[in-house]
């Protein structure tokens, strides 16, 4: 079984590595940006998987962190074009397009929002947790919708992608490989994290939180740390997405977006980290290709999701690898 899983993973990696030359060979370069988006959504979905699949925290507001990451890029770029300061008190923050500055800001901003809202959300459980995460996401959504300085619901358009030494982010191929690299690093980190002592506690919280507490772990702190980490990763995904599309809008934080990310995780197979990437690929590709054949593509996508739930209990990744999701 391990072999089959390894084969699938290596195969997947090979496909992703070879995509840029392949698309060039067949003259389908436009696919590259679609696949960049798949990688970015894969990152977001995998980060959701950390809290949802491993930690049992079902969040319906994960997209908000993408939105915050994206807006960090958008707002700083906006001030850079306008040559104005984002903030002049208590410390001067001016706009910038340097990825090495902007992306960490995006990650920190998302992590901070995750920390603060997580501290409140994690007091609740189950359905209530779902709804309170949604509540915070909706608040952020309406906040950005009415924020007319930064375009409100129309969003913010970037003139070009962020700059980075050594890498030309404007090149689709470079950008694609950068996304791939970031995703791989994240998957590796996530994998190690979930095998670490910390990961054990997180998985324990999903299965039996009371037991974890009785053993002497302050489960709340562990969950909050995990939630914050996932938020940070989603923030990075948002920063990447803003660069990929050269655009951010509040639509990025709408609850349907959070729902889509959740669908990606479930579709691919939760508690597997790689599964959600597969889920992201499946959902986005289906959306794209079905739409080419019929305007009514949703009438096919809907039942497809139901069929997956009913017949592939552990998601597509489970179906492919033959092994289960989660742990066993």
């Amino acid at each position: 079984m391990i072999n089959r899983k390894a084969v699938i993973n290596v195969l997947g990696l090979l496909i992703f590595l070879l995509l840029p030359p392949l698309t060039q060979l067949f003259g389908q370069e436009y696919l590259l940006s679609l696949f960049s988006r798949i990688l970015i959504y894969g990152l977001a979905a995998a980060s959701l998987d950390l809290i949802l699949g491993y930690g049992g925290m079902v969040s319906l507001g994960h997209a908000v962190f993408m939105g915050i990451g994206g807006y960090s890029v958008g707002i700083l770029a906006f001030h850079s074009y306008e040559s104005t300061a984002f903030m002049s008190w208590p410390l001067l923050i001016s706009g910038t397009e340097n990825a090495l500055l902007v992306w960490p800001v995006a990650v920190l901003a998302a992590a901070f929002f995750g920390l603060v809202t997580g501290a409140i959300c994690l007091r609740t459980k189950g359905m209530h947790f779902i709804m309170i995460t949604l509540a915070f996401a909706q608040m952020a959504y309406y906040f950005f919708v009415s924020l007319s300085t930064y375009g409100g619901s129309d969003g913010l358009s970037l003139y070009n992608r962020n700059t980075m030494p050594l890498f030309d982010l404007g090149s689709d191929v470079t950008f694609y490989y950068l996304c791939l690299g970031i995703l791989l690093v994240f998957l590796l980190m996530g994998h190690r994290l979930m095998q670490s002592h910390f990961g054990r506690v997180i998985s324990g919280c999903r299965e039996n939180e009371q037991r974890v507490q009785v053993l002497g772990f302050a489960s709340y702190r562990y969950k909050l740390a995990c939630y914050t980490f996932a938020a940070a990763a989603a923030g990075l995904a948002g920063a990447l997405l803003a660069n990929q599309g050269e655009f951010v809008s509040p639509g990025l934080m709408h609850w349907t977006k959070s729902g889509e990310i959740m669908v990606m995780v479930l579709l691919g197979g939760m508690g597997t980290l790689t599964g959600p990437v597969l889920g992201a690929a499946t959902l986005l590709l289906m959306e794209d290709f079905l739409a080419m054949y019929t305007e009514h593509w949703m009438v096919i996508l809907g039942p497809f999701l139901i069929v997956v739930v009913l017949f592939a209990k552990r998601g597509l990744y489970g179906l492919l690898t033959g092994a289960g999701g989660r742990h066993d």
Partner: protein
């Protein structure tokens, strides 16, 4: 099996046919799904009508129209634009309904050297600072219709108007546009939640403010809800309602019914605009699709004709981009709006009317032209545009 072979053969023929004629590809990114899907449908149908009337040609040049649904999502619109440009090598794109999609997609298109002709959305940014030589708007700048009603309301000596719009930039622009020409007092200015469906609380406050007229901008379903509830609250009997044409197109009127009768709204076009081109268009549209065209359909149709006129000028060779652009700028096409030309920011300079909602003899709800408010009206953002 035979079916498969047959369809393969058909496919091959159609492909070889395509190669022989080498039609100009036009990519249409529009919104067909979501609640707002009917807007994109009308733009597409209007555009298609022009192509069908030319038997597959625009400006006597064979064209191939590719249509895809953006689902009102900016990133999806962008994805489609990229596919049209990179895979299909389309150099002419059109179709976007919503400003937020346009803001995400249009800059990418025009910067890569392709042309974009907007049949609907006209965000102020693209008319002002963000204008581009390859971007043409054949509909209106977002503020235009609001400005016309502002002017009309002032002419009619209303002096205490209550304003209502959703809390998002287009909503604020709309009211700003109205106020640009409205000279009276503002009885109240209310911003509602985007996507709100129940307006009972707003209507109660509105009644309490005792305005002598109400101006609202609530596109799509929000408008349907508002107009119905406005009439149900009995306000239409005491306080006249004004709005832009967006909430009074023939398809919305069908869903609103009697509640909208008598409402005056601003538009650059009307189905009863008495020009030979328009009469022919309305008749042809009714025949082809079995419904009265909306202003969106007229804009789609005009966009197609405009593109056709420029295609004819370069004999279908869009790669002569300077010549193609020059031809577009001339706007030498038989518009259904009577008069049309471009300002230097490639936005319309056109007449704007107010219309009144009526119930015609057959019991259908439609608009009747009331008055021409502006002649050769241009938008307010042109001076910010650096193009000459």
């Amino acid at each position: 099996m035979r079916k498969i072979v047959l369809s393969l053969v058909i496919l091959l023929f159609s492909m070889s046919g395509a190669m022989a004629a080498d039609p100009v590809k036009i990519g249409m990114i529009t919104t067909l799904s979501t609640k707002a899907g009917y807007l994109g449908e009308d733009i597409r149908d209007g555009f298609k009508l022009a192509i069908d009337q030319g038997q597959g040609k625009l400006g006597n040049i064979p064209v191939e129209l590719m249509v895809e649904d953006d689902g009102r999502k900016p990133e999806k619109g962008r994805q489609i634009a990229e596919r049209f440009m990179k895979r299909d090598k389309a150099q002419i794109l059109t179709g976007i309904v919503f400003s937020n999609v346009a803001m995400a997609v249009v800059p990418k298109i025009v910067r890569s050297g392709a042309f974009y002709v907007s049949p609907n959305a006209g965000p102020s940014k693209l008319a002002g600072k963000g204008c581009d030589k390859n971007y043409f708007n054949v509909a209106w700048q977002n503020d235009n219709l609001h400005e016309a009603v502002g002017q009309y309301v002032t002419e009619k000596k209303y002096n205490n108007v209550y304003l209502l719009a959703p809390n998002y930039p287009a909503g604020k622009d709309a009211l700003a546009g109205f106020k640009r020409f409205y000279k009276g007092k503002v009885a109240g200015e209310v911003y509602t939640t985007l996507g709100q469906s129940d307006y009972a609380a707003e209507l109660a406050s509105l009644r309490a403010a005792k305005p002598d007229a109400v101006y609202f901008f609530l596109p799509g379903g929000m408008g349907i809800n508002f107009i119905k509830q406005y009439a149900q609250a009995g306000l239409n009997e005491t306080t006249p309602l004004f709005g832009p044409a967006f909430s009074f197109d023939e398809r919305i009127l069908k869903a609103v019914g009697d509640a909208a009768v008598g409402v005056v709204n601003g538009s650059q076009w009307s189905a009863d605009l008495d020009t030979p081109e328009n009469m022919a268009f309305v008749a042809a549209f009714r025949k082809a699709y079995g419904r009265t065209p909306t202003l969106y359909a007229s804009q789609g149709y005009d966009a197609a004709l405009l593109i056709g006129s420029a295609l004819a000028a370069v004999k279908g060779d869009v790669s002569q981009s300077d010549a193609f652009r020059a031809a577009l700028e001339k706007a030498d096409f038989p518009t259904v709006r009577g008069a049309f030309k471009f300002g230097k920011n490639h936005h319309p300079v056109q007449d704007i009317y107010v219309r009144e909602v009526i119930k015609d003899e057959q019991g259908n709800f439609t608009n009747r032209l009331l008055k021409k408010v502006f002649t050769d009206h241009a938008d307010a953002y042109g001076p910010e545009c650096s193009m000459k």
